[in-house]
Amino acid sequence: MTALSTNAHHVDARHDVRMRVAQILLMAALVLTVGKGVLPEGLVRPPAWMVWPFADWINAFFDFLRDDLGLIHVTRAFADGVEWLLDITANLLYGKNRWPRLGPIPWSVIAITAAMIGYYLSGWRLAMFAGLTFVWVAVMGQWEWTMETLSVIIVAAPLSILLGLVFGTMAWRSAGFRMVLNPLLNVAQSLPHFAYMIPVVVFIGVGPKAGAIVTIIFSVPPMIRMTLLGLQKVPPEVVEAGHMAGATRWQLLRHVRLPTARTEILVGVNQVIMQCLAMVVLASFIGMPGLGQKLLQLLQALKIGRSIEIGITIVLLAVMLDRCSKAWATRQPEHIEKGTSWLIRHRLLLVWAVLVGVFWGLSLMFPVLHEIGRRDAFSLADPLDAMMDWVIMVLDPVTQWLRWFLIVWVLIPLRDAMLWLPFSAVLVFLMAVGWAVGGRRSALICLAYFGLIAMTGWWDRAMITVYTVTFAVFLATLIGFPLGIWGSRSESRARAVLLICDTLQTFPSFIYLIPVIMLFGVNDVAVVGAVVLFAAVPLIRYTIEGLRNVPVAQIEAANMSGASRRQTLWSVRLPLALPTIMVGVNQSVMFSLFMVIIAAFIGTQDLGQEMQRALSSSDVGKGLVLGLAVAFMGLMVDHLITVWANRRRKALGLET
């Protein structure tokens, strides 16, 4: 008992010291802010000596890699290999005039194949969904663009799965490699999409080839993570059984470890496919043809009806790919009764072969089953446009007012305030937050991340990004939090809302721009709107999960103490759910950062805009520095929230 109380005493004392230091730092930040007028210039803006030419160094390094080390020959050779594969899929899917010159495969055959895969993996519903997705694509006259997009995914996803498996296995084998790889993966997963594109443009150029390669690079990290996790989770007894069976190391990996890690690896495959789709759509910025490029053009031309059509296609593809790969991951092997004939064992394959034959034959007789030309295609664009015009007309007073209010009274003052703040005050403030959360170590980490941002020379741009993200996450919390509480009220409602959130999360980020541009036009409000939509989803999700996973015993105890529903929520459920909810906030910040950068093309003045410029001038150094600045913001928030949530969980006695 005494040991326990001294221990608690200890923790309290540490907590007090931490808070005291944080308060002092906070005061210092306030003093710096109030006394801005008398501060030396070097404390207001990062002085010239502080700004280091990172971009030039990176450029020099890349030049060295490319020219002196001849890395460009390696990358070009790899790119040529990828291009060869791309030509094959391009020929088969949309008849590009390359070897093997068999294509294009009739759309009806592809649709029926997708349906059969859906049936095999999950059943009738997925079969209908997969089949009808392709029917929609064909009927709406988007076949060629969709196939351009898919032809890249079909090449990129397997390659990145393979790379992920190899690197994941290497990381599992060697602790040293894991130590190097882990921080790299952390940074890689918080780098915005554009930061990946610039080096690829330098080394490979633009076009489908570059699009495929940037997609591969972008989607490898989650596969590495899941492979590593899966291999680490193989039960020791299974491995020992392998040893006792006299398996060599290779046999053990090939026959025991990797197959037993199947579920995690397939979850990785699912993530790879979804990342591929998200990136392939965005790769339109580096000349990747397909749905992304069409959507970009249509959005820039403000053709809302047509962009909604493309948006629907992308969403359908995303949901279909997600459901199929998830079904594959959760599919468990089932035995076939003995004595089942060959025909029945392979009936799905046979049915598929027959259907392919039938539809191919039919498509020769009826060209409309082979290809639906632009002129025969349906389009919902006109009615959609009319409907949208009407909606916009009705909503216009509201959106106009909202736009005016937000821009004049919120966004501009906030931005000006952020830009007005002396950078030293911001740094000291962040240190105060860091100290309050995790003591000196966290304070130094915060200082290091934002200090580095100051040293890049992009302080003002970074502050604009910070203000957009902060404001957007704040709005997202205002929306997501109550929605999450509402959604957690009953089991069935929670399940429904979670399903919607899951589905929304599979959409490539680009899609979120369509509705906001439609409503607000091209301006800052649209950017904030897109970020809010995108960032609210994880918040809702984790709020529900946090609230639903509060141990039943605690809720029952609260009920038996005579707590009302409201009291239970505020005194029991929310405090216990808070660590989980904060994980949602963390994701929400990450998503916001990505989205802000993507939204740059509709006109912002933050890091994203500069990144677009770096992209168009293929300035690797600048692009990477900007990307890292964004990554550092994300990593800082991630550090603070993780440290806080872990401590909180431990204090609450929840599992860590």
């Binding site: 039960p235 007894e237 299974v238 020992e240 059984a241 040893h243 006792m244 069976a245 006299g246 398996a247 060599t248 046999q251 026959h255 025991v256 197959p259 037993t260 199947r262 468990q332 092997p333 089932e334 035995h335 076939i336 009764e337 003995k338």
Partner: protein, 343 residues
């Protein structure tokens, strides 16, 4: 017992977990206690264990969780490297084997059954059982034939195309047993094979296991934390505590003459009459006047209960397996055991 009978032996085996176990063990006082070693920051999972296992014998290693029994069996099969001492299999020091030699040894001589089965989830029963044969590089027809044979032996005939998750726990362990028998091992390790099963199934599996052992006559190292199970199965029991073997002897001798206090506490609640055989309690014949019908030395005291109560001789003659008189049983002492009298 000659050396040729000895299938497996270990001498002064140590397994320490900690920062630098090898160096620490070299400088360690052999009499150091468990707590001293723990205080130095090391975990002595196996402490100075010496055991011999002869051909066809079933040695049961018994201990509570954390007593080091699972670590010991992994030392014997070299699933983990030992810190000190040596383990010999048929005279060969297995710590000196190269990776290839060790793999060969496991492919031909050893089989092991695990507590949570250790089955490969993506393979059917047949493929799981054939796995060690596949590792050995046997062709598909031979291994299929052999696997079907063992599957039949463990009573899973007809289920060979099922996947592990489609089977009950008891059936899954039968697959584990079949897999470990597929290569016809000389030494059979069983690491708490029935602990994950519920009591009724456990009993059934023990019977099944005794039946198999009756057919095959393997050399067995069997791990359990269940004393009743140990008594039921063992030729000899080694009782472990804190990594060291407290006593290693025949079940009835452990019950009659516990070597340490720890063992004595263990057997306190055991119904001795069900464990002790007449032959274990008998005295030499010399001088006694043995008359009348002899009792079978292989029977337990509780099996002889009726006879012990009804007979009026002071000393009963005990007959060996071949019918010859090998000793005399003091009826009074036997009755004490039967009635659970404390000395």
């Amino acid at each position: 017992m000659t050396d040729t009978d000895m299938v497996m032996s270990c001498r002064k085996v140590w397994k320490l977990f900690g920062p630098r176990p090898g160096a620490y063990l070299a400088g360690l006082d052999p009499a150091a206690s468990f707590d001293q070693i723990r205080a130095d920051g090391y975990v002595p999972a196996v402490r100075d264990v010496s055991l011999d296992i002869s051909k066809g014998e079933m040695l049961v290693i018994m201990g509570l969780s954390g007593s080091g029994k699972s670590t010991l069996v992994r030392c014997l099969s070299r699933l983990i490297e030992i810190t000190g001492g040596e383990v010999r299999v048929e005279g060969q020091v297995i710590g000196d084997l190269s990776e290839k030699e060790l793999i060969d040894l496991r492919r031909n001589k050893m089989g092991m059954v695990f507590q949570s089965f250790g089955l490969l989830p993506h393979r059917t029963v047949l493929e799981n059982v054939a796995f060690p044969l596949e590792m050995r590089g046997q062709d598909i027809h031979t291994r299929r034939a052999r696997a079907l044979e063992v599957i039949e032996l463990v009573g899973l005939g007809g289920r060979e195309d099922y996947f592990p998750r489609e089977l009950s726990g008891g059936q899954q362990q039968r697959v584990g047993i079949a897999r470990s028998l597929a290569i016809e091992p000389d030494i059979w390790f069983l690491d708490e094979p029935f602990s994950a099963l519920d009591p009724l199934i456990r009993r059934e599996m023990q019977d099944e296991f005794l039946r198999l052992q009756g057919l095959l006559g393997k050399t067995i190292v069997f791990i359990t934390h269940d004393f009743d199970e140990a008594l039921r199965l063992a030729d000899r029991i080694a009782i472990m505590k804190d990594g060291a073997v407290e006593q290693c002897d025949r079940p009835d001798r452990i019950v009659m003459e516990p070597a340490t206090e720890y063992v004595a506490k263990f057997i306190e609640d055991i119904e001795k009459a069900r464990v002790v055989h007449a032959s274990a309690m008998m005295q030499p014949v010399n001088g006694h006047d043995l008359t009348g019908a002899a009792v079978d030395g292989g029977k337990t005291i509780s099996q002889l209960a009726r006879l012990l109560v009804n007979d009026d001789r002071l000393i009963l003659p005990v007959a060996g397996p071949d019918g010859a008189i090998i000793g005399g049983l003091d009826r009074q002492k036997a009755l004490d055991v039967l009635l659970g009298a404390k000395e």
